[in-house]
Amino acid sequence: MAVYPTIPPKEPPLGERGAIAWVRHNLLSSPYNIAFTILGIGILYLIIPPFVKWAFLNATWTGHSKADCHPGGACWIFIRAKLDMFFFGFYPHDQLWRPKTVIATIVALVAASKFIKGFNKLKIALIVMFPIYAYILLRGGYFGLSPVETSKWGGLLLTLVIASVGIVLSFPIGIVLALGRQSKLPIIKSMSVFYIEFVRGVPLITVLFMASVVLPLFFPEGVNFNKLARALIGITLFEAAYVAENIRSGFQAIPKGQYEAADSLGLSYWQKMGLVILPQAIKVTIPNLVGTFISLFKDTSLVMIIGLFDLLAMVTVTANDRDWLGMDTEGYVFAAFIFWIFTFSMSMYSKRLEKKLDTSKGK
């Protein structure tokens, strides 16, 4: 028989600690890894210095016209000069305070939401009221505000309107479709399956064309259905199919035991789905859902083909301005940067949300 004393923990050897260990393990762990590290550095060397030179070192930041720009660098004056158009499209210049107020309200509400704990009635009321408030302010025609046709809305404003309406409306429709696809009732199930598979088999451009050309045929003569509304309906119905498939994958990740426990406790179908299954299914699909919403955000630029001018379309329009010909690159880089800010924030938010909802560790 033998009894051994308790061994106190020691620090790992020097090469296994800190930055040296990280470089050894991540950059130089094998011949292949070393080759890829060198290749990676090489590619970065080819891309980054020229871009920095163009975008920053040789760029022109101040001035009033194209003539002020020196060649070989970016001409950011163009962006400054057309900023209102990028952001608000053809929205009347003297009314720009209205979309600006809406954006300020969003920022204020997001900031305030940090101080309102939980999901209470006040929050729900604000969420319901906000779209009405934003619509009245943007569209006008009430309270002495001059009306601004939606065809005048454009730029980033239009991108945000389409994306947020698309996300907010496609989410519940997607949930209903996903539940329908899970249903034991054959008619509801096959209708949901048909809808989802049909929509997923068709490109968004087709759906937008259909919404703008075919949809009006269903309305009585003389009812002129607004172009933006048609695009919104098209995008919402299109995205709902993708959201439904995301949520269905979430359903499949939920163990059978969760359904059984809910049944056994006596929960009704809607209680079971609403209180037990959906919250968990949505939680596991957050990364996929946000992925879908990010591509929805970028897909909004397709509304250009039915004659709406989103951020990307505004770049095309402004770059055709006689005074600013040849500014496409600056415009598209700027648009890419704006798109990136929004999509990156969305993916950051999804990571935070995942962490917040993770119940496997302490809160």
Partner: protein, 262 residues
């Protein structure tokens, strides 16, 4: 498991049994062509504690899962408190208010805290006021010795703790009957005892219980009746002492030999 059967555990003191509360008559069930339950006849009285033993695949779990309609059966009848267990929504709601089940894998809701797990059904299904539901939940959590974990999430608890929470959750709607489907099979050995202790406590209080388990010690200590199932049918049933000491059928003799002598 085997170690617990070496010494004869002390029997708990029993109360008198009441009226029949669960009645299974000629229940037959098929999975496709496979005949899982064959002419099951079983009557359980109020306050009775029945332990169901048998090799895996013998239909034990399927049988008790039919009682709260997690499984459907094709022939025969099952009554709980006189209510027919069938597809009728109203019946089903009533049956499930009388019966609850404790599962092998606990099946706690991981997105809710322990306390929310316990109050979910009382608040939403049985429309109890929130305050009352919380008080009841804390009462049962104390009973299973886990009140200090009330605000944690299930995955932060050990298996034994989770199973005790699952028992408390089942108790919160105050069912007359508890079904246990291999409640200790997924637990590490050192946690089995704490769950069995809770179950013995419930038995002493006179809850009606049907337990599918491999814990012979539990069967000897608290069971009024032990049932042996094999290949979808009830092969033998008896009081625990006679069941273990004088098995009659060859199948039970073989089964007891296999589980006791190694």
């Amino acid at each position: 498991m085997a170690t617990q059967t070496q010494t004869q555990p002390e029997r708990i003191e029993k109360k008198a049994l009441g009226e029949p509360i669960i009645q299974l008559e000629n229940v037959n069930k098929w999975y496709g062509d496979f005949h899982v339950l064959k002419d099951i006849n079983l009557e359980v009285k109020k306050g009775e504690i029945v332990v169901v033993l048998g090799p895996s695949g013998s239909g034990k779990s399927t049988m008790i899962r039919c009682i709260n309609r997690l499984e459907e059966y094709q022939e025969g009848s099952i009554k709980v408190n006189g209510i027919e267990v069938n597809n009728d929504v109203k019946n089903l709601r009533q049956v499930r208010s009388h019966v609850d089940m404790v599962f092998q894998h606990f099946n706690l809701f991981p997105h809710l805290t322990i306390l929310e797990n316990l109050t979910l059904a009382p608040i939403w299904v049985y429309k109890r006021p929130k305050k009352e539901a919380l008080e009841t939940a804390m009462y049962y959590l104390e009973k299973v010795n886990i009140a200090d974990q009330a605000h944690k999430y299930p995955n932060q608890l050990s298996g034994g703790q989770q199973q005790r929470v699952a028992i408390a959750r089942a108790l919160c709607k105050n069912p007359e009957i508890l079904l246990f489907d291999e409640p200790t099979s997924a637990l590490d050995p050192e946690m089995i005892g704490e769950v069995l202790d809770v179950m013995v406590k419930l038995a002493e209080e006179g809850k009606t219980m049907i337990t599918v388990t491999h814990e012979m010690g539990f069967a000897r200590k608290v069971a009024d009746r032990v049932i042996f199932m094999d290949a979808g049918q009830i092969v033998e049933e008896n009081e625990p002492e006679a069941f273990f000491n004088n098995p009659e059928s060859d199948r039970l003799k073989l089964f007891l030999q296999q589980i006791l002598h190694h």
